[in-house]
Amino acid sequence: MKPEELISMMEKARADSSAFEHEIRVCTESGCMSLQSDTLLKALGDEVKTRGMTDKICVKGVGCMGLCCNGPLVQADTAMYQFAKPEHASAIVQGLSTQPVAELLCNTQQPFFTRQKLVVRENSGHVDPESLVDCIAHGAYQALLKALTTMTPHQVIQEISDSGLRGRGGAGFPTGLKWATVSKAGGSDKYVICNGDEGDPGAFMDRSVMEGDPHRVLEGMAIAAYAVGAENGVIYVRAEYPLAVKRLTKAINLARRHELIGHNIFGTKFSFNVELRLGAGAFVCGEETALIASVEGKRGVPRPRPPYPANSGLFGCPTLINNVETYANVAPIINKGAAWFAQIGTEKSKGTKIFALTGTVKNCGLIEVAMGMPLREIIYDIAGGVPNGKAFKAVQTGGPSGGCIPAELLDITVDYESLAKAGSIMGSGGMIVMDETSNMVDVARFFMEFCMTESCGKCVPCRVGTYEMHQLLNRICEKRGTPEDLQLLKDLCGMVKQTSLCGLGQSAPNPVLSTLRYFEHEYLDLVNQTQAAHADQSPAATGEHIELEVLP
């Protein structure tokens, strides 16, 4: 495609869409789809057809609108509907020319919507992810055009560095610095990899970005490839996300057909090819060296660094690995400039972050907020607080590598440094709220079981350490734990943290450490109950007593 063609395609698509008098958008991401939003979409289309209004009303499937727990969500002109079902199709279409359907209305003036700051998700809920034309109408590939035709690779890297963008996968490494390192690495073959292996339980931001706006991810990757001098890209997606795989595959095929990826993009010397690779359900593959092994068709086992992937990654070539959300931030930075991006967020954490709000809160779903927002505001204003008159107990961020933040720390702000200081991490963005009925020792056990099962088994501290810690937590939960068990658990936390090879093992003790830090009394209660039981009963009754006998 030539630059003029992209512009004319965009203008034509915009003219075409403004020719419609009304627009109905239906969320067609996994969450709403499981509530039959695809049937609803078809019913709306049929309804418009029966009324003979196909030239007046545009009906399309779009990405996530955020409030997943009230789905399926439908946007009909200015009205947003929640809990919409196929049988409401007629009323919704009728409502376009008369009054909106009152009983389905969702209040878009509530803090859940008004407090958000949309950068990555600006087009989610507006564009049809399966239509390249619609994405182009909303500005897709404009940033790639700008980068390729008006900027040198060095300028692109400078722009990303100046923006202050940090990796959204969890660790928060400065993206510009990473790009510069790969750019400086020698060798003609380089790779860019998009990490779409969102293994954190309770997190679905990346799934949503891939399902709702896949071209934005491709565009970000292409810009990154141009900046670092790579010609090959790989998107690694979990096989558990079939819809994301389908949408990305379609997006890649469409972009390839329209020569937005391929040889000599926009008539420049830059060529870029992308392949999709499926994960197969291994949490450890979120770690970059394990991910590379998996892309190479091997068991996803991490290896020691250095060499870092930036120097020796996929097939031994210099490789840039970024998270889905990181790539999705690239296009707006190139379009609007580093200065614009840098004014969002805090001094050290720039931009916005998407969070998956779940657990016991009123509003579950996806939110995107400027970095630096206090946790309290997110949980009480945006998420609407804890329902059923229960009290808030803790919020878990960062998945199995993160920690639990108690009520007394709710005034901390959401950025990389504050969360780390509170004993948790930003992580990929899962935010699970727990009310007073949750037992924190049980929560720690849940995460430890996860880490134990997901440990790849390569290094002993992680493989054996997580198993032992899980056993100890089991004993404590089942009121069989002793004070010595608790002490051993604490000791093991330090050992596993310091001696494991990769991030999985190093961060596996975090949920235990953070619950010990803020909720130690719950551990002590359980241990004391064991003591009390011991005082009352014979050892045999506690299940601890094992009789050994010699076989004749």
């Binding site: 969450g31 799934r207 197969a280 359900g281 699970i432």
Partner: protein, 170 residues
Amino acid sequence: MPVNTVLPKPPTEDKRWKIIETTMRRNDFQPDALIESLHSVQQTFGFLDIPSMRWVAAALKVPLSKVYGVATFYHFFTLKPQGKHVCVVCMGTACYIKGGRQLLDEIQRHYAIAEGQTTKDGQLSLLVARCIGACGLAPTVVVDGNVLGKRSAAELLAALDETVERKRQS
């Protein structure tokens, strides 16, 4: 890259082996296509058995031990045939907090199977997922690819009974 033209004979006469062959051909029979090829086998036949792994190993020129290593490393692959219907209970954090464990217990009790097992009549397999990414609808259960969210144990068991029963008659 030299393309492997002499492909070993598939384990059976089944025409569906062509599907896997297409996947491998698309990747020029390179060893790094191993995971893609195993996905293809599992999608087509429902599980990975030793003859299929042997064949993929020969076609991609990868040692069988490596193929077996990969097949057993990743949770997504299964070496046992699945039941006619598959019920996956999500055990992600959000689902766990909202009672996923209780749902799993109820299903196990109702059908007298543990996670990872299939009922004796081969009708239902019960699996556990790490997180299916539909946390807004927690607790979630996936029955034959359809996500059922925010159900009580009773509602869920009724839905499951209906699925198993209905298909049994057809």
